[in-house]
Amino acid sequence: MVKIEDYAPIVGQAMVDELYLLAGRLEGKQIQNINSTAVGGGVAEILTRMIPLLTQLGVQARWDVIKGNEKFFTITKKFHNGLHGVSVDVGKDEYDAFLEVNRENAAAMDFGDIVFVHDPQPVALIERRKDLGRNWIWRCHIDFSKPNPEIWNFLQQFIEQYDSAVFSAPAFARKLAIPQVLISPSIDPLSEKNRDLPEDAIDSVFSRFGIDRSRPVITQISRFDYLKDPLGVIKAYKIAKKHADLQLVLAGGGATDDPEGPVIMQQVKEEADKDKDIFVLFLPPASDFEINALQRGSTVALQKSLKEGFGLTVSEALWKGKPTIASAVGGIPLQITHKYSGILTHSIDGTAYWIKQLIHEPQYAQRLGVNGREHIKNNFLITRHIKDYLLLFISLFRQEDIVYL
């Protein structure tokens, strides 16, 4: 099991000591996380890693999962799509069914001192606040930039009963009557996807896929999904390739519920068939080691998304010191400051231009990579995430701008 002390060589002992200082201020408080799934998805992934670390710091942290039937999860899927801006129609009976499941769970649940509710599925548990009291926080993990107004209005009545709401990116903030806290997601530098790898391990993955490490490699790791714009990546690669020797790796999971997904995949395959330097890798879910090696062995990382929630693959690439070119969407501008810690682009031509620049100017590219890694070390590792959560819990009991603990 990973120990909190294992992070000291990475972020410094002083930073780990500060986590202990903060954790000490939460003595006697039980923190209860509540979400809707124990496995799969980003929320479960981060809680799985974070709860043991909080416990080691001396915080009483627990995690409960609400129970729901198929109908409930069909409704919450509709909510999810609607909050992403997709046109959906939710009937009154569906809102009622949603509330009923929340009320059943709330009646059966034993609540902690601080109730930390993740995402919309369990949001209405807050109805119990009237008779229980306690401190309540609602954490939104999803893109909230253009929510369907009707679903938003329904959720807002519950959200505003919480003490505070937490969002992952500034664009997701709403006009709300409660404080809104910015807490970005994070990567774990000790996980299989991000831990250091020996050169021969990287070599073995590249040779397994037939990629030549002696020539420049540009790589985008993401689902084959319209919003990740793999065809735009191929176009940018082709423009850049007129003046630079390049190989392109597109690697990620294949299946999505995007109706255009199969069409995009087919087009990507057709393009790849025409060029032996394009490698399209459909990776199975448990491919963290391969992703790690592909990122580490690449010359330049790309993330040319049209839309992103946060875009943590950017942090993953930067953590590996890779010069990264990414679209200025979602949480990506938080991770890259243009020309300081990476490159932000807005078009295919701009992406092609910067691919050439970084391939031809390796010293400049390396400086971006070094700065990028340092930026991730300071701002997007799990230790920063733990610090933000501890401050969030402590902030429930203090209202000043400058709090002396």
Partner: protein, 213 residues
């Protein structure tokens, strides 16, 4: 006995739910947001990119230059010399003055692309006492080598501008310790032109050089 207790600080970022898509909206925001927001937008870069030198500019100038593509106004906003200001209200007034100047009003039509609006945020700062205490200059340098950059940041940046103590905590203690020249040397540093590690090394060198006098 005159001890120096090392504090550290950790920041929480609050979203104000207020955005600007052009210069007039930025100006209105700068006028109305809480002081802690002016602090956030002039110090976030420094804190998050403390390894870079010279440090990237404040958020206002970065947004004007990189998003609105107005290099001239961006440069004027970035050249506001924060070290000269004794309070956040004075600093706010300077930004208002620049953004209100007539030539910049001609840029009223510049619009941020959708999704790249300026988002106003602010900081809540949590101050904690560390177990580290220095009783003399020798102990001071030993501890300063070990504390986090957050601690250095608190005693240098927050002490002067945010807590309006007039000068940084180290200089004040050096003066109390009968080391006025050392106090003056450290007070005269422009901390905004160093990386935090560079600043740490510079202060340690000054203590070693002037602490003996």
């Amino acid at each position: 006995m005159n001890e120096f207790y090392f504090n550290t600080k950790l920041d929480q970022t609050l979203l104000l739910g207020r955005t600007a898509k052009n210069i007039p909206e930025l100006l209105e925001g700068v006028k109305e947001v809480p002081e802690a927001s002016i602090y956030y937008h002039t110090h976030k870069f420094l804190h998050q990119h403390h390894f870079l030198s010279p440090e990237p500019p404040n958020d206002f100038s970065y947004w004007i230059a990189e998003v609105l593509n107005d290099a001239q106004l961006g440069e004027i906003m970035s050249s506001v010399d924060i070290i000269q200001f004794q309070s956040l209200e004075d600093l706010r007034s300077r930004f208002i003055e620049i953004l209100s100047e007539q030539p910049h009003q001609e840029r009223r039509t510049l619009l941020a692309p959708q999704g790249e609006e300026f988002h106003f945020m602010c900081s809540r700062t949590f101050v904690l006492r560390t177990p580290h205490v220095a009783h003399d200059l020798e102990e001071f340098t030993e501890v300063l080598k070990r504390v986090s950059v957050n601690s250095l940041y608190y005693h240098i940046f927050d002490a002067k501008l945010r807590l309006e103590k007039g000068e940084n905590d180290f200089s004040r203690w050096f003066r109390d310790m009968g080391k006025p020249e050392l106090a003056e040397r450290v007070a005269r540093l422009d901390p905004y032109t160093f990386t935090l590690e560079g600043l740490r090394s510079r202060i340690i060198r000054l203590v070693e050089q002037y602490g003996k006098n």
